[in-house]
Symmetry: C2
Subunit: 332 residues, 2 copies
């Protein structure tokens, strides 16, 4: 165990794309847990698209940052936690955290399910995809589902979950030929395309020639417009984020065909996963057997070492990850 | 009964705002009903915003036009219809129509409910408002509802229906001081404003200081943007039309704050009333007693005489009507 605790703080607001200069590393002594708390040594950290939005104001400057994390209890002064417990909590961007039992979840140890899955397909990322498909889009068996940023954390979960739920056709777009292969060959997408390779609307029409019923939108902007164009009557769009526009200082052009929502009776619905934590159990019921059987995979792009956390975050914003972007703080 | 039948046909597509030159009047002999049909003399015709969209392509040129109408059977060669029956049908924009029984609805004669209500609050106009509030926005008692174009047919129905359904606060915008008074003094809106009198977002914030839960959108464009800005978490927007953009040759600027749908968990849903005809009975169950008791009113702006039908249509597009725009072909 290192004698120093490191953490990252945000020190300035970005204008446009973050460069990394908005962050600083802070060293200090390893904190000592007070009565009723435990000391956790973080093992895995999550970096996520929503954090880019937090940088614009939700995150206080020069203060500890929030982030989903998995750590191991190394000292406990509470009955609720035992040394050696592997816990999920929200004190990310740091090597050590002092937690109260009600702030953490002790992770179950299911065979064939690595801990990192609780930051990925079993975590907020998978839950976002699950809620998008079920509560928001209300997917029906046999429907055609389109997922943008499909090789990312939420996207790769959404495509696989749609397949598990009986979608008739699952189509994805991603930003490189390698990612397109990953979607089709490893995740079982029926079709996928590289959105940098041609006009989005044309590529989508080719991948889903009979149109789409459900769109899981992580991107916004041009992707949302293409999806509205390809939608069949009574289509539903679950809008979880808009990575395409987080860096924009001007609001991006909204879809020019937005009025097609009326003519095609389309529903466009936004949501925040934090309002749907009660779906976690359903998600695990569905996924634990599939993960153990290997019919669903939980791919991570892991950055090794705490000092890489800012780079991992910037790389995720640039789409350099395949699957969930995760940082391994110490070997678990 | 006149010896000549008159009708209106569309002869060219408009570019931008229609001028009336897109239409022509056609005279011919009064048609004779064949076996299994009846001759109807039209009494009332409906002119509606959706017709502006039909002009761009759905309506064939130099052909009879579609439109909701009420007429009286003057000769029948079918058992299903009797001379003197007052019927609702869809052969509008003409003085006479030959109908089959399955194409018409014989109107009930309820005390205190004039026939014209079946083109207004009991017709497609009222049904649009009803479906918007119930099936699309799923209004809950106590909620705040905002209605744009609130003095128009759909809008005046939506505001009154929202009140009947227990809305906590009903707010409307319209395009003149007289209409604003009509909303508050005659229709019972809690607040109303003239959208030409100042910045929309500011006026809406003043009329609904605690925000809105439901928006019934007939207008699109700037009104949709203001409504998204004023929405509370979990707000719903029922989108029935976008009169503001029918004349535009460019797609209008979509709302710049569209991404707020994610942060506020807002649902934006379009629909076409023709997919919800099965709600008609519910609507009548709710409205017939209220109309008879006078707690709901069905205001029409009536243009007298068939020859005024094109002017009535253009005037409706300009917002010159208060309540439903209707044409009286002959005194009933």
């Amino acid at each position: 165990m290192p004698q120093t605790a490191r953490s990252v703080q945000q020190v300035s607001r970005p204008s446009g794309r973050p460069t990394g200069a908005e962050f600083r590393f802070v060293d200090g002594p390893v904190p000592a847990p007070g009565p009723g708390t435990a000391l956790v040594e973080n093992v895995l950290l999550s970096v996520d698209p929503y954090m880019r939005e937090n940088m614009d104001g939700d995150w206080a400057l020069a203060a500890p940052l929030e982030g989903r994390s998995i750590g191991r209890v190394t000292a406990s002064r509470t009955h609720g936690l035992t040394e050696g417990d592997l816990v999920f909590h929200r004190q990310g961007w740091r090597t050590h955290a002092v937690v109260r039992p009600e702030e953490v979840r002790v992770l179950p140890q299911a065979p064939g399910v690595p801990a990192e899955a609780y930051l990925g397909i079993l975590g907020g990322t998978g839950l976002t995809a699950y809620v998008a498909l079920t509560r928001i889009a209300r997917i029906e068996p046999g429907e055609t589902v389109y997922v943008s940023a499909a090789a990312g954390g939420v996207g790769s979960a959404a495509g696989q979950l749609a397949r598990l739920m009986g979608a008739g056709r699952v189509v994805g777009s991603a930003g490189s030929p390698a990612k397109v292969r990953f979607l089709v060959e490893e995740l079982g997408f029926d079709a996928a395309f590289d959105h940098r390779e041609g006009r989005l609307a044309e590529q989508l029409a080719k991948a889903a020639p009979e149109g789409i019923d459900v769109y899981i939108d992580n991107v916004g902007g041009e992707h949302l417009e293409a999806a509205i164009g390809a939608m069949r009557e009574y289509g539903r769009i679950a809008w979880c984020g808009a990575i395409a526009q987080y860096d924009a200082s001007e609001p991006p052009p909204a879809p020019r065909n937005l009025f097609d929502l009326v003519g095609k009776s389309i529903r466009l619905e936004g949501f925040l996963v934090r309002n749907h934590r009660d779906a976690q159990e359903e998600l695990e019921r569905l996924l634990l057997p599939a993960l153990a059987a290997g019919t669903v995979i939980d791919r991570h792009t892991v950055t090794e070492g705490f000092d890489g956390v800012v780079d991992a975050f910037l790389g995720m914003l640039d789409g350099r990850n395949t699957g969930k972007a995760t940082v391994r703080v110490v070997a678990s």
